[in-house]
C-alpha cells in the first residue's frame, strides 16, 4: 500500500476558549409539564364543578341531570347494597357472567374463524366476504331473534354480546397471521417447517399483538352487547335495572349503575392489557400513556 499522506491535526481549535458557554434550554409548554395525577384530578374536579354549577343554577332539570351530590348518595347506597349482598349485587353478577360467557365464546369462535380466514385461501376467498357482509349489518337488530331462539334468560344476552365481540377478533387474528414478513416465511420454509409448525412457531406468535388489539376492541363490544341485550330482553342484569330506573325517572340511580358498570368494563379491559403485557413481552412499543 502507498504511504498515507494526510495530516493529523493535533491542536484543538482555540477560538472561543475564553468566551462564555452558549447553553440553552428546550422549552416545554406548561400543559405538557403537569404531572399525570395532577392533570387527572384537576380535570375530574373541573368536570364535577361544571356539573355542579349546571345543576345548582337550575340550567338543566334535575330529572334529566341529577346533582353530583345526589349521584354520590346513590353511589354510596348502591355500593352498600352490593356489599350487603342485595339485589344490585345479583344483577352485577348476572351481567358479569353474561359478559364473561360472551367474551369466551367470542374468543373461541373469533379465533377459529380468524385462523381459517388468515391461514387458508378458502377462508380468505369464501368465508371472509360473508363475514364482512354480516359485520356491516347493525348487529343489535339481531337481538329479537336471539330472544326468540334462546328466551328471556341469560342465553340471549350472551349470544348478542358474543355476536358483537366476535368480529373484531376474527379480523385481528387474520391480520396477525398475515403479519409475518416474507423473509420470515422463507426462513421457515427453508428450514423445512410444516404448515402447522409455521403457524404455531411463527405466524401465531407474530400475530399476538394484533390478536390482543382485537381483544381490547371486543372487550368494549361485549359490554355493549350484554347491556343492550338486557335492555331489550329484560331479565336480572344491570341493564334491566337501568331501564327500570330510567322509566321511574330515577336518574341518580341510572348514573350510579352506569358508573359501576364502567368499573366492570374497565376491569375486563385492564385484564386484557395485563395478559398482553405478559404474553407479548417482546413488543413494548404500544403503550402511549400507559393504559392500553
Amino acid at each position: 500500500m502507498t504511504p498515507t499522506t494526510y495530516h493529523t491535526v493535533t491542536e484543538a481549535p482555540a477560538a472561543g476558549q475564553d468566551l462564555p458557554d452558549t447553553v440553552w434550554q428546550e422549552h416545554e409548554p406548561l400543559i405538557d409539564r403537569i404531572p399525570r395525577w395532577v392533570a387527572m384530578t384537576g380535570l375530574f374536579v373541573a368536570i364535577v364543578g361544571l356539573w355542579y354549577g349546571v345543576t345548582a343554577l337550575n340550567i338543566v332539570s334535575p330529572i334529566i341531570l341529577p346533582t353530583p351530590g345526589e349521584t354520590w348518595d346513590d353511589l354510596v347506597f348502591v355500593g352498600g347494597n352490593m356489599l350487603s349482598g342485595g339485589y344490585v349485587l345479583d344483577a352485577m353478577i348476572t351481567t358479569t357472567l353474561t359478559v364473561l360467557y360472551g367474551f369466551a365464546i367470542a374468543i373461541g369462535i373469533g379465533f377459529s374463524l380468524g385462523v381459517l380466514v388468515g391461514e387458508t385461501k378458502f377462508g380468505e376467498r369464501a368465508v371472509m366476504p360473508y363475514l364482512v357482509a354480516i359485520d356491516t349489518m347493525p348487529k343489535v337488530a339481531f337481538a329479537p331473534l336471539f330472544i326468540a331462539w334462546l328466551g328471556f334468560d341469560i342465553g340471549s344476552k350472551v349470544a348478542l354480546a358474543a355476536f358483537i365481540a366476535t368480529f373484531p377478533i376474527v379480523v385481528s387474528t387474520a391480520a396477525g397471521l398475515y403479519a409475518a414478513s416474507e423473509n420470515e416465511r422463507h426462513l421457515f420454509k427453508s428450514m423445512g417447517a410444516s404448515r402447522l409448525q409455521t403457524l404455531i412457531r411463527l405466524k401465531l406468535p407474530t400475530g399476538l399483538p394484533y390478536f390482543f388489539t382485537g381483544l381490547k376492541i371486543a372487550a368494549v363490544g361485549v359490554m355493549a352487547g350484554a347491556i343492550t341485550g338486557e335492555f331489550l330482553g329484560g331479565g336480572r342484569g344491570v341493564g334491566a335495572l337501568i331501564r327500570v330506573s330510567a322509566s321511574q325517572l330515577d336518574t341518580p340511580r341510572v348514573f350510579s349503575l352506569i358508573i359501576y358498570l364502567s368499573f366492570l368494563g374497565l376491569t375486563l379491559y385492564l385484564i386484557v392489557v395485563w395478559l398482553q403485557r405478559t404474553f407479548v413481552f417482546w413488543n413494548k412499543s404500544d403503550k402511549p400513556g400507559g393504559i392500553g
Binding site: T2, E184, H186, L187, K189, S190, M191, G192, P205, N283
Partner: protein, 270 residues
Amino acid sequence: MTVAPAMVAESGPAGHRPVYEVARLSKVYPRNAFTALDNVNLVLREGEFASVIGASGCGKSTLLKIMAGLLPPTRGRVVLNETPVMGPRPDIGMMFQQATLLPWKTTLENIVLPIEIREGRAAAKRARGRARQILELVGLGKAVDTYPSELSGGMAQRAAICRMLITDPAVLLLDEPFSALDELTRDFMNMELQRICMERRATAFLVTHSIPEAVILSDKIYIMQANPGHIAEIIEIDLPRPRTLDLINTKRFGEIVSHIREKLDRERFI
C-alpha cells in the same frame, strides 16, 4: 454429472469437486408469462465463494430461491451433492437481508431453531452446547441469553450467521445479507464472513448489488443482466486471501470494480 458450458467447467481451483450445479435453468412465471431466468449455468466448487451481481429485477433473487428449493424451476437441472434440489433441504444454509430472528426467543434459542423445527425440542436442547461455541466464535458469547431487540443490527446478522451454520450445511446461500447495515458495520461483517468461510472451507453463493462487496468476498463473480435474466459474464477474482479492507484502495481492485460497473451500466442504457 451434467456437462456444464466450457467457460465454467474449466475454471475454479483445480481438483475441487463441484458441490452445486445449475444447468440450463429457466424460470417463467406463468401468471404473466414473464421470463425471469433464461438458460442459467453455474457450478460451485467445494470451498469456493461465488457471487451473483446485477441490478434489481435481473432475476438474481429468483435464482437464489430456486437454488434454495423455495421455488420450482420451469426448465433445467439444479443439483446439490449429486442429489436434485426438489424442495428445502437441511444441507442448504440461508441468510436473508434481515436477520429474521424471532423476538420471543433468546439468541441461543434462535440459533437452534433449525434443529428444533427438523428434529424437535429435545434435539434442539442437545445442540445448545454447539450453538454456544459458534456464538463464541463470532463474538456473541455474552449475548447468548439476550433477546434480539437488545442486539444491534450487526450482532443480529452475526446471530443469523450462527443459525445458518448450526446444521453444518454443504452450501451457504446469502441473499444480500448485510445490505440493511450501515457501511462501517457492513465492511466489518464482510471480513467476518470471509474469516468464517475460510475457517470452515465453506461453499458460498452470495447475491448482492454492491460491486466492492462482491469483489472483496468472491473467487468468482457472475454478472447478471435482465430481460430475460441471464449470466452475461463470469469473472475470476485472483486477489490473494485473506483479503483485507486495504485491498479496496489497490489499483487491481479498482480495475475489477470499474470493469463490472461498466458492464452493468452499459445494460442500463440499452
